[in-house]
Each structure stands twice: as C-alpha cells, then as structure tokens.
C-alpha cells in the first residue's frame, strides 16, 4: 500500500472514538433540551386546563 495511504488509514481507528463521541454529544445535548421543553410544555398545558376549569366553575 502507498505509504501516504497507509498513514491516513492508520488514523481511522484512533480517531473513531472522538468522532463518534462528538456526534453523540451533539445529538444528546439537543435531545435532552427537546425533552425538557416538550415535558415542560405538556406540564404547563395541563396546568392551564385545570386553571381554566376552575375559573369556569368560579364564574
């Protein structure tokens, strides 16, 4: 094999954990934020429904 190609391919395995780690961290970071926002939205919507019912009863 060409010595330059050999040099290039020798870097694949050592680099793989860093590349996979970088992608995983970005996906994880965004997923966690989406989860926090969506769960928070559901909770607030439930609170809103309860309060609207209470207000309707009061009136």
């Amino acid at each position: 094999m060409n010595s330059v190609l050999e040099e290039i391919y020798s870097t694949i395995l050592p680099a793989a954990p860093y590349v996979i780690g970088a992608y995983a961290l970005i996906f994880l970071g965004l997923f966690v934020y989406v989860l926090i926002v969506v769960l928070g939205l559901k909770k607030t919507e439930k609170q809103m429904d309860v309060l609207e019912e209470l207000l309707a009863e009061k009136n």
């Binding site: 330059v4 290039i8 680099a15 860093y18 970071g29 965004l30 989406v34 309060l51």
Partner: protein
C-alpha cells in the same frame, strides 16, 4: 402632525410558526440524521492526507490533510453558526425591547439566548473532542477557541444577570443591553481566523474553500437541519414560556 403612536406588533405563540415548529423539528432531525449517515457512507472516510505538494492516491488528487476527525466538521460548524445566528436574534430583540419597552421582546430574547446556549455547549463539546485528537490537548489558547469561550461565558453571564435582578423592567433593560454587548463578540469570533492568519483554525467560508461538491452537499444538509432544529426549539420554548405567563396571570385572577 399626528400624535398617535404606531401600534407595535408583538410576537405571539400559537400562530403559523408554532404550527410548523414540530414539522421543522422533525425535518431538521431527519436532515441531521441523513447528514450523519452520509458522512460515514457516501463521503470517503479519509478524503486526504499530509503530502508534499499534490499526490494522486487512488483516483483522488490529495493536497491537504483531512482525516476522519475532519468529519466532526459537518455537525460542529452548523451548530456553531446556529448559535451565532441565535445571538443575532438576542441583540435584535434587545434593541426592540429598548425601543418599545414591551416585555414580550424580553421574553423572546431570553428564549432565543437559551437556545443559543444549548448550541454553544454542543459546539464546545464537539470542538473539544476534535482538539483532543488533532492537537493532543483538551484546550489550547487559540484565537477562535478563546473568543468562543468568551462568548459562552458572556451568555452564561446573561442568565446570571437575569437571575440577579428582581424588578422585571430593570432586569429586561439590563439583559437587553448585555445581550447586545454579547453579540459584539459574534463577528469578532467569526472573523478571528481571518484577522489572525496564524490561527490553526481553518477559514471555512471562502471562495476557494476547495470543498468537493459531495462534501459541500453534506455540509448544507447538516447546516439546514441544524437551522430547522434551532428554529423549532425556539418556537416550542417560546410557546411554553408564553403559556406559563398565562398560567401565572390566571392564578392571579383566581386569587382575586
């Protein structure tokens, strides 16, 4: 001359933008996933190597060093640009607040800065892993890294400032000014690799970038995916914050 003040159109939740937000999130996630898959399938694993001058390897003319670790670029750069664009909106809403004193613009600025912080953290995390592999260290006081770190600290400072002030109007005014000051670092951070040519960070956006078309398409797929995700996250969070404000108002109404 009329003394009537022109009504300010305030951003509100529940409109067309909120209807398309889940679709934007899904499309963004699909584009990002597609970009991720293509990065490791269609694009070659190692597009180049360190050679003297230009060398033909296989069918490829190789003249620069682009190893597997370079693939981090396809997510790292779009995420970084999304964070900078979000901070542009922080400054925009800050200016709008200072002009109108409408609390809604402060809410928008707070939400968009929060989204910017999430993207900044993702940029830092992915950049750190690249730095560790390429340079063998976790951190280097390199111009781009340093200016981006300052940007991250300013954004964290923005939220510390918000939490430190109780009076809503004073908090909004201070945060608006701080948001605008934070944005000043964005063009500095973006241009630093051009201003200091010795910087080891590559200048990505230039006319002779030499990015092959297949890699450019990959980059654009990831880029638009991240922009759609950022937009959707902003709209979802804004809807939640507005709803929470209405819940608080209803609670007050019930207490009365």
């Amino acid at each position: 001359m009329s003394n009537t003040k022109k009504a300010v159109k305030l951003p509100e939740a529940g409109g067309i933008f909120d209807k398309i937000a889940p679709i934007a999130l899904l499309t963004g996630a699909l584009l990002a996933t597609l970009g991720f898959i293509l990065t490791f399938t269609i694009a070659s694993l190692v597009p180049g190597a360190a050679v003297n001058g230009v060398e033909l390897i296989g069918d490829q003319m190789v003249s620069n060093k682009l190893l597997l670790s370079q693939n981090i670029f396809y997510f790292h750069v779009p995420v970084a640009i999304a964070s900078m664009l979000a901070l542009g909106f922080t400054a925009y809403y800050g200016i709008r607040f200072l002009m109108t004193k409408e609390a809604r613009f402060d809410t928008c600025a707070k939400v968009v800065t929060e989204v910017a912080l999430v993207f900044i953290i993702c940029t830092m995390a992915s950049g750190e892993l690249w730095t560790r592999f390429e340079w063998g260290v976790w951190w280097a006081w390199e111009p781009r890294l340093t200016t981006y770190l300052i940007l991250m600290l300013l954004v964290i400072g923005y939220f510390i400032l918000r939490n430190a002030i109780d009076d809503p109007e004073r908090r909004a005014s201070y945060a608006a000014v701080f948001g605008i000051i934070t944005f000043v670092d964005v063009p500095i951070c973006f241009m630093i690799t051009r201003m200091i040519p010795s910087s080891v960070h590559p200048v990505v956006f230039r006319t002779d970038s030499g990015m092959p078309p297949d890699r450019l398409v990959l980059f654009l797929i990831c880029f638009f995916g991240m922009l759609l995700i950022a937009f959707a996250l902003y709209r979802l969070r804004f809807r939640q914050v507005r709803l929470a404000e209405r819940v608080a108002a209803l609670k007050e109404q019930l207490d009365d």
